[in-house]
């Protein structure tokens, strides 16, 4: 399970979804504020520290009536990017 890091704050400003680092070292040093695209935002909102990844994917498949394998690939891709930038933390396996 994953959840947003306490070292960042997410804001929706006029439909633009922005991740702003609070502490130094969240994000990377060159570009400190990030925006998520629509897919990224939908996935981010499932990362509440309570759902397993399987649950998150299942909900996304249902919400978007999408292809499970494709969505799983998107989730995996985004998690990699968010972890690299320390924007989310892993709180247990799965």
């Amino acid at each position: 399970m994953y959840k947003p890091s306490e070292d960042v704050v997410a804001r929706d400003v006029q439909g633009e979804f922005i991740i702003i680092p609070i502490t130094s070292g969240a994000g990377d040093l060159e570009d400190e504020i990030y925006s998520l695209n629509e897919t990224g935002r939908a996935i981010w909102e499932k990362l509440d520290g309570k759902k397993t990844l399987k649950d998150a994917v299942r909900e996304l498949v249902s919400d978007f009536e999408g292809d499970g394998a494709e969505i799983e690939k998107d989730v995996s891709g985004l998690l990699g990017e968010l972890l690299k930038r320390k924007m989310i933390v892993k709180i247990s396996k799965s």
């Binding site: 804001r11 439909g15 570009d31 990030y34 998520l36 695209n37 990224g40």
Partner: protein, 401 residues
């Protein structure tokens, strides 16, 4: 395959937020206090640091937090903490952390003298996400303290600046040009260019000082004495003549026009400044009572949606303004605005002779005006402007330099 990255660097000036999807409030200035640890004679705002009456009237920590929270809720991305000296507020750290945790970028204006190792540590741990701006009054103790009129301020400021440097906290510097420090300009600029976050650029200067925003007549007389004559200011602008003329050609090609009777052609009222006592002003300098909104009985949103648009629609009625400023094409060069009129004359639409003189001196230097010609009487200004912008610079400029 996804067509775009899930996560992209977000750059405020490239974002749609400043273009088509602009929120009600993008940026907010916050004057945490009018008090200052320095006592600069040229300052438009400073009160003594131990002014208890001023401190008593200032907004509380909880009130400032309420304003910051509302600002973030309206889509604001960046707040500027200024003063006075904002670091004088005992709750500065608390307000700074609150603003950052609300997802706001924070720009701090300071003289750096109150930066402690603890505060530098905080800026390092929780970065402001905007470069701190430090005003430097001189490179020597004599010049610096002649400007600040405060013993020990030189050592304190350089201690603070060195803390920023040692902790690699991004900052830029700017100057206030006074007779005391003018001979140190070259040294200041050389030092400033070496600061990593200045990227080799020269610092900005204030020189044509504003009068007191609270219209303090006695102090205003002193500020007037510290202002350079327009020709003297021009001489300083033109120290690097080629760069100056090149930059001004670009500037003039974009901003020179006749403004007519509309008082506000700037961004005043699209954002604004909350003063130390909870009054929301359309800009940092405009304190005319008819143009400020008392947040005690309302909200930022109400001011931005219902009050400031009426202010922005105001038109000049002063016949002198209408016959001069409203017909003058030097709008871009001239600092005339309702705030300057307020500070100088207590009205919104009275021509300010000093800024008029500065604009005319520059226009003559560029060949846009002849000697003793008034810009508001020129009819062929578009041709003259076109000729200046397109011409070889050196041939046209500078009988006065």
């Amino acid at each position: 395959m996804r067509e775009e990255p899930y996560v992209s660097p977000w750059i405020i000036h490239k974002s749609d937020l400043l273009k088509k999807k602009k929120p009600i409030l993008s940026r907010l200035d916050i004057e945490l206090t009018e008090r200052c640890n320095n006592n600069c004679a040229h300052c438009y705002i400073n009160l003594p640091k131990d002014d208890r009456e001023a401190a008593r009237k200032e907004l509380s920590t909880a009130q400032w937090k309420g304003i910051l929270k509302e600002a973030a809720g309206l889509g604001c991305m960046s707040v500027r903490f200024t003063g006075g000296e904002p670091l004088l507020r005992e709750d500065f750290e608390e307000l700074y952390v609150f603003a950052r945790k609300a997802g706001l970028m924070v720009l701090v204006f300071t003289n750096a003298a109150l930066i402690t190792p603890r505060l530098a540590g905080l800026f390092k741990r929780i970065p402001p996400l905007e470069k701190i701006e430090v005003t430097v009054y001189g490179m020597s103790k004599g010049a610096y303290e002649a400007a600040t009129r405060t013993d020990g301020s030189f050592e304190a400021a350089w201690h603070g600046i060195n803390l920023l440097l040692r902790n690699r906290i991004p900052f830029v510097v700017k100057g206030a040009l006074l007779s005391f420090n003018e001979r140190e300009m070259d040294e200041f600029e050389k030092w400033a260019a070496a600061i990593p976050w200045m990227h080799g650029r020269s610092p900005a200067y204030s020189m044509f000082f504003n009068l007191r925003g609270r219209r303090d007549g006695r102090k205003n007389e002193l500020i007037k004495k510290l202002r350079p004559a327009p020709e003297e200011g021009l001489r300083i602008f033109a120290r690097r003549k080629e760069d100056y003329v090149k930059g001004m050609k670009e500037f003039c090609s974009k901003f020179m026009r006749v403004s007519g009777d509309r008082l506000f052609s700037c961004g005043a009222g699209r954002g604004g400044c909350v003063d130390a006592y909870g009054f929301f002003q359309p800009c940092m300098l405009l304190r005319h009572p008819d143009t400020v909104y008392n947040l005690a009985g309302g909200s930022l949103e109400d001011a931005l949606v219902n009050f400031f648009p009426k202010i922005r629609g105001m038109k000049a009625v002063n016949p002198e303004y209408l016959s001069r400023c409203a017909r003058c094409f030097l709008k871009g060069l001239c600092e005339q605005c309702p705030a300057k009129s307020w500070m100088e004359h207590g009205t919104l639409d009275t021509p300010v002779e000093y800024f008029c003189g500065v604009a005319h001196a520059q226009a003559r230097f560029f060949g846009l005006l002849k000697e003793r010609e008034n810009a508001w009487e020129v009819r062929d200004w578009e041709e003259r402007l076109d000729s200046f912008v397109k011409s070889g610079q050196e041939a046209r400029c500078g009988s006065k330099n």
